[in-house]
Symmetry: C2
Subunit: 522 residues, 2 copies
Amino acid sequence: MDDTRAIISNDLAVGDADSRVAVGPMHRLVARPLPLNTFRENVIVLARDSTALRPERLAGVRKVEVRAKGRSLLASPMICDDPAVVGPGEAGLPQPAFRRLGVQPGDIVEVAPARTPRTIDALRAKIAGEALSAAEYAAIAADLGAHRWSDMEIAAFLVACASFMTPDETLSLCRGMVAAGGRLTWPRDLVVDKHCIGGIPGNRTSLIVTPIVAAHGLLMPKTSSRAITSPAGTADTMEVLARVDLDEAEMRAVVAACGGCIVWGGRVDLSPADDVLISVERPLGVDTPEQMVASILSKKVAAGSTHLVLDVPVGPSAKVRDRRAALRLRKLFEYVAGQLGLTIDVLLTDGRQPIGRGVGPVLEARDAMAVLRNSADAPADLREKAVMLAGCLIEQDPGLPGGTGEQRARELLESGAAARKMDEIIAAQGPSPISGQVGALAQEVTASAAGVVTAIDCLRIATVARLAGAPTDPGAGLDLMARIGDRVEAGQPLYRIHGSEPSDFAFAVEAAGEFNGMVVAP
Amino acid sequence: MDDTRAIISNDLAVGDADSRVAVGPMHRLVARPLPLNTFRENVIVLARDSTALRPERLAGVRKVEVRAKGRSLLASPMICDDPAVVGPGEAGLPQPAFRRLGVQPGDIVEVAPARTPRTIDALRAKIAGEALSAAEYAAIAADLGAHRWSDMEIAAFLVACASFMTPDETLSLCRGMVAAGGRLTWPRDLVVDKHCIGGIPGNRTSLIVTPIVAAHGLLMPKTSSRAITSPAGTADTMEVLARVDLDEAEMRAVVAACGGCIVWGGRVDLSPADDVLISVERPLGVDTPEQMVASILSKKVAAGSTHLVLDVPVGPSAKVRDRRAALRLRKLFEYVAGQLGLTIDVLLTDGRQPIGRGVGPVLEARDAMAVLRNSADAPADLREKAVMLAGCLIEQDPGLPGGTGEQRARELLESGAAARKMDEIIAAQGPSPISGQVGALAQEVTASAAGVVTAIDCLRIATVARLAGAPTDPGAGLDLMARIGDRVEAGQPLYRIHGSEPSDFAFAVEAAGEFNGMVVAP
């Protein structure tokens, strides 16, 4: 098999505008898929006696550049001692590197030790406390989106930004993130969206607001995320009702038919740099106003939104703890959105406790559908908040008299128009691939003494729901049976834990036994 | 093979004092070595249909805890789709995880998704700008040394510390790092050492100071590092002359026989947390006074030193750029060393240009031996600096009249006693495993116009030497032929580049053509 012979190609790749910079000549190897999945990380496996790169040169190398068919990525090198697994003329490529390169087994790939991307100089300047330029942020976002930075570099960037970042830097980062990915355009001047910064269990208003606003006739193509640290994301909850992993063409077809959609944004390639930053931000617990603003607004601008209502819950266990922090965050959102030409309404809402009763995909979907169907037992707090948010968006309609948005939203809900629109959207997106059953294991958590519920710890409620299995197990979670201000007797249930996997369920029950998240004062 | 069946063990491992915290029950698998080397990173490969952990649970898991025979480590999970590579009841363990666990093929290992180590709470507090306690630093250093933090967490820690760290925190980190590894003790009250903070090419004084001081009769068991970003470390240079990868017992035997040694510290497990921090610090370019002090002093205290002379070169392209920064660094070294009971002399030295003529392991070893042998062409700057440093250490000898240390050092050098001691040490450490030949490829870099050398860029000199192949290729590097203040004619050689690998050599020549690092003013 002569083709497997590595050939030193002639081009001395010393750099190009994209900062894909190999050190020394590229070497040609034959791509061989390996039956390994390395999750997020790109890995390339080379033989110990590789014709391309000697292991002693790789020990000090952080990344290997791999090129094929005009694509380029950086992969972490590993050495293989078994020529039956990876031969001297081969490049072993586990997933996701194999998929990202778009090669076929036997295709030629070119490899070389990667020089540190030039944007790392900007990272070092940021670590040293400097403000970076718009051009530097554009280059950084491009490198992030192309997976050219390592996790350690991303972490260093986030922590350096957390210590010092100007509003203009936030704007530049946001602009760079938009430019680094795809951007949707819509055939309307007014494209509305609604977003919550998160942190409050339940609070699944998007599933109600979207059909109300679409029923009014405004365009609301909603892309949403899956849960990362919470018990359910909007995409997880919508998935209980309909398919959500639509690609761009499918999403456009739904929006053309219904005037709105509620899909997972993961297949639409909006602000990929944001996804990369989030993947490091979350495990580190870095959650600064600057990153939040750049992240949310980059996704919204890339999604083609022109008007955004932003829900900022404020409460002692919410992401934003007090009014002062909330006002500071609002100013930053308003400044950056304004510079980007996005109209924004930042609403500071009550974030002292969960909204609705269910926590977890199936239980939250149940609440949202109860509101849409005007059921007698629908949670009133969820209904009122959704009507208020939908009203703010409808208010943007120039054809409507000022101040009548909320009234119009309520009419669309109570008349059943919103419920019919939701049924349309669900039918257009297609049937859900998952079960909508509530987890069969159930256990009530009760008050140990009589009193009044004076506080609810949102973080603890979310933790117990996640331990029970949400969102991986969509039927797992909590059903809340008490709210702030309620009088409870000793032994009265505060909430019910649901689950289906015994060991997860046992963990959740044990955690609730230690601290159930509700403060009952005599 | 019934043994390969995974068994859910009974212990619900929810935590222990060591912060080795698995989520949920441990699962038993059979260890299977994989012919892969993942370099620094621990990796565990599980089958897609593993009896222990389902891939959908692993996608959100940062690390898997692996336990065997009382050892525990955290490994990044990968999924294997080929049961012939890793079976459902097996744990595939590439190097270094397999070696670190100390298992044999077929041994039982226990695995479970790892909860985030508790020290990550302290990391988050540090990111938020808080000062951490001594207990927190002790726990952090222990987790670092045990490879329980990911690169992203280490990077976040370093950048957060770079933005704010008190002298007491530096002391606490240093103490924690000492405690997290082994510690050498010696049967003498006075154990001396010499260290340079680095940044100046050449400057290989340790190879001269150690035999002088040992010849005087003081105990100087020198452990040194290999180059990470420089063209040569003391260990790389000594390796040209003798074996350096001695274990603790071998090192003790050499010290008992000769009163001194010059070995690589990598096999002696001193301050392993420091090695972990450095592995992230270097690629990020984080080089703060606090990390430098904690790093150097933790290694010295762990090595059992009681008296340290520290060489701090100051110059425009050195690590320390000016006198003000140097004085600040000196204070921090003095404070932390004082608290640790280590006597320290911090010497601010001339760091405007390289010391000696050779840059690269073979060329630097040649210079050091020329000084020891009192050759007529030995570099005078290297000799004088080594005599001064050795004098400072000998001055610690209570049996010697004050102020006579340097004179005694010079006598020991000029009499040949130091050279004989060096020969003894070389013989005791054993023969060098590498060739001491200077690279056969050579090219002179010349002055483009007549003038006086007014500045030498140490960073550039180091970069050209590294591009030529140093230290991986020990015979590669530079031979300097001009110093600051020298008059040169147009076409007169400034230095000679040596190498043996044609493409590396071509890169070094090309880089020197762009900027050779020497400023010649008319």
